[in-house]
């Protein structure tokens, strides 16, 4: 299951990443394997999405969210 498939309000736990370059950036922002992610909302035009991770809000595009594989 990819993060991009979650709907607003749904939660998941990060398992791994499919893209090395993106993973480095996401992990720096606290989005690490084992971390719980909650999709807070989806932008009015359907992209990007806002997630809650490690206690704060982070926005990322759906394409970027699709590189995050959830447990």
């Amino acid at each position: 299951m990819k993060l991009s498939q979650l709907l607003a309000g749904q939660k998941g736990i990060v398992k791994e990443f499919t893209d090395l370059e993106m993973s480095v950036k996401l992990m720096e922002m606290g989005c690490l394997p084992g971390e719980e992610i909650c999709v807070e909302r989806i932008a009015p035009l359907g992209d990007p999405i806002a997630i809650n991770v490690a206690g704060y809000s982070l926005s990322l595009r759906k394409r970027e969210a699709s590189t995050i594989i959830l447990l």
Partner: protein, 704 residues
């Protein structure tokens, strides 16, 4: 000022770093550039409890020492390069107490560079309120550094922080966070011996960043490159390993020192606000309502102070004309310098109000939501959600906005944003628009609420946004991308704006405007006055002689005579000659030679237009009757037809010209500085000139 100690402030974005900087340094600060790069360097001074004087450097906010943008790359260079003149003696790392986990990543990186560190645990009040309990003593003991809980917003704990800075050790005593050598043991060891580096983490960072940092010699660079190949060093993998190790350390630390409330938290206030502000429909309605309100406010709130300033200048000019002896010097001062200045000073209220709004939108966190809402739309036209900030900032001034595009990581997105930002109606165009709109658009309300002039101005702003979007789309088709773009951005929690920051920004911007524009305008006014007051050969004498003839002195009263002389002199002056020279080129878009003079003088800065108009019509008008520029322009009649010069068609044609033409030397310079290539400002100048002429042509012929 001589400093005994240099202190760098380092921290994540949105941690209150700038607020702390303002508190520590007060108004005793200056903005400059870091040598060799175009990153704003904010420095200030602070007196410590022991009497020593500390120089405080505010470094750009960053999430890690691995830079994602140009601004962020300066942080590592300043901290690590020992030959750098700005290398700090001490680093104050600001941590957001309510979001410690992510904030600590940067701390552990800085700490591993073995520079003396003090931690400022900011927003401790917010953390306490939401039930987060931090065992500060244990936290400090585990890290081996002084930790001072503060609240920069409430100005609490600042004295303790100053004390901690003055008692800080001169050598770094912090505990190890992770085993840095384990990430690339052989490479780090060899780099340390070959480049004589005593710090393993500095060696590792150089392995990652040696291609971008500026302080390495070519031989050092080659050595690092060679070693990297020898040990097949993979930058991204190593960085991933490091980040995971650091978070493991952080999790363990936080597990022992921080207690968070177990029960599910209430839905945060920010979340509830976001439900409305980023709503599918209300979100956009509100965004446009805010923009509309902003422009209405700029127009209506500023009208009273503007009239006051204009009247003041008229009064001063009037008095000076009576007090000073008549002659060329008085004329230079009153009709040249003061007339030119007054045309610009009246716009201080508008600029202050505009910057107040922009600073409030940034400060509250709303700007980040606009970025979030607009990203998809912006991407369609080749921009990026983050382009919204420079574009909205472009309403104020293109120069800082183009500098702020450095936060856009993607090269193509950034170039397109730079290319279209100067199209957005900046504050220098505001004086021109308000003057011309006030001349030709009636001042009355429609549908009870909207002022017709305010609507016309809003229209110009919307039009500028539309043209920026269209041009961006064209550039999207032409330019080729270099790398993939991404959009990972923190959405900061909503906060009340810090009113003193808002006031400070208003003051700072108005001051910059007055000083920078003022200098140009005085210079241009003096030159223009000379050009307008003298003519080639004996033309002026012949005019004087001509009007001394009885056919004129008898038929015209003295006032009319003076006006006829002045007007003919202006036409025959050097400035008039210049205006006449370009008149054939601008006649098709409805401009006469007087406007031609203003186009030439405002070539380097748009706001000079109004000053020039003021000077031209002062030289032309009678000295006895001082009036505001607007009144003089309104009364200007075409010599042949007797109809007003500034008709609807001419006014809108002029506005179109200023909407598109790149009449700003500062923007050209900053685009060159940011792109490091003359091709970009040249292309920009050319396309804007073509659009300006075409749009003016259309506007003039449609409205004529």
């Amino acid at each position: 000022m001589k400093a005994d100690l240099r202190v760098a402030l380092v921290g994540n974005p949105n941690t209150g770093k700038s607020t702390l900087f303002n508190i520590l340094t007060g108004l005793n600060q200056k903005i400059g550039n870091f040598p060799g790069v175009t990153v704003d360097k904010k420095t200030g001074y602070c007196t410590l409890p022991d009497g020593r004087n500390a120089e405080i450097i505010d470094l750009p906010g960053t999430y890690s020492l691995y830079p994602k943008s140009q601004d962020e790359s300066i942080v590592f260079s300043i901290l690590a390069d020992r030959s750098n003149a700005l290398k700090p003696d001490l680093v104050v790392v600001i941590l957001d107490a309510s979001n410690l986990k992510r904030n600590l990543l940067l701390y552990t990186q800085v700490a591993d560079l073995k520079i003396p560190v003090v931690i400022a645990l900011n927003m401790i009040d917010v953390a306490n309120k939401s039930g987060i309990k931090i065992d500060v003593d244990l936290f400090a003991k585990r890290l081996g550094v002084p930790v001072v809980p503060i609240s920069a917003r409430k100005i609490e704990g600042i004295d303790k922080l100053k004390a901690a800075i003055s008692y800080a050790n001169e050598i770094a005593l912090q505990n190890e966070s992770i085993d840095v050598e384990a990430i690339a043991p052989q490479l780090i060891a060899r780099m340390q011996t070959e480049l004589q580096l005593d710090n393993p983490y500095f060696a590792l960072q150089l392995a990652h960043q040696h291609e971008t940092v500026k302080f390495l010699s070519p031989t050092e660079n080659d050595t690092i490159e060679k070693l990297e190949q020898e040990f097949s060093f993979h930058s991204q993998k190593a960085q991933g390993t490091e980040t995971i190790a650091r978070y493991a350390f952080i999790n363990e630390l936080l597990y022992d020192t921080v207690k968070k409330p177990e029960t599910a938290q209430d839905e945060s206030l920010s979340n509830r606000i976001d439900k409305v502000l980023t709503h599918k429909i209300f979100g956009f309605i509100l965004f446009f309502a805010i923009l509309l309100f902003m422009f209405q406010a700029i127009f209506s709130w500023s009208s009273y102070p503007m009239e006051l300033i204009a009247d003041l200048f008229v009064w001063v000019q009037d008095k000076l004309h009576h007090v000073l002896p008549a002659g060329p010097l008085t004329s230079l001062l009153v009709d040249g310098v003061i007339a030119g200045l007054s045309g610009v000073m009246v716009f201080i209220p508008q600029i202050a109000i505009l910057f107040a709004f922009i600073s409030i939108l940034e400060d509250t966190g709303y700007m980040a939501r606009v970025t979030f809402m607009m990203d998809k739309l912006m991407r369609k036209v080749g921009l990026n959600g983050k382009s919204v900030v420079p574009l909205i900032g472009g309403f104020a001034c293109a120069v800082p906005s183009i500098m702020s595009t450095r936060t856009i990581e993607n090269w193509k997105d950034r170039m397109i944003t730079i290319m279209v930002t100067p199209l957005v109606t900046c504050s220098a165009r505001l004086p021109i628009y308000t003057l011309l709109i006030a001349l030709v658009v009636p001042n009355r309300n429609v549908w009870w609420l909207f002022n017709l002039q305010g609507l016309a101005l809003t229209g110009m702003y919307v039009f500028s946004l539309i043209s920026a979007v269209v041009v961006a789309f064209v550039f999207k088709l032409i330019l080729k991308g270099r790398e993939r773009g991404y959009f990972i951005m923190e959405l900061p929690v909503y906060r009340m704006p810090r009113w003193n920051n808002v006031v400070y920004s208003m003051y700072e911007r108005a001051k910059t405007f007055v000083l920078q524009a003022g200098k140009v305008i005085i210079a241009v006014s003096v030159i223009l006055w000379v050009l307008a007051s003298y003519g080639p050969g004996d033309r002026f004498e012949r005019i004087d002689k001509k009007y001394r003839q009885s056919q004129y002195t008898k038929t015209l009263n003295p006032d009319e005579l003076n006006r006829a002389v002045a007007s003919e002199k202006l036409e025959n002056s050097y400035a008039g000659a210049l205006g006449h020279f370009i008149e054939p080129a601008i006649r098709p878009i409805g401009f006469d030679w007087k406007i031609g003079i203003a186009l030439i003088t405002s070539f380097a800065a748009r706001e000079v237009f109004v000053g020039t108009m003021a000077t031209i019509y002062s030289v032309n008008g009678s000295a006895e009757k001082m009036e505001s520029v607007q009144k003089k322009m309104g009364e200007a009649k075409n010599a042949q037809t007797g109809r007003p010069v500034f008709t609807l068609a001419v006014a809108f044609s002029l506005m179109m010209f200023y909407a598109f033409a790149m009449q700003c030397a500062s923007t050209v310079a900053v685009v060159y500085r940011e792109t490091k290539n003359w091709r970009w400002p040249a292309i920009q100048f050319a396309y804007m000139a073509v659009l300006a002429y075409a749009a003016s042509f259309v506007a003039y012929h449609v409205l004529k």
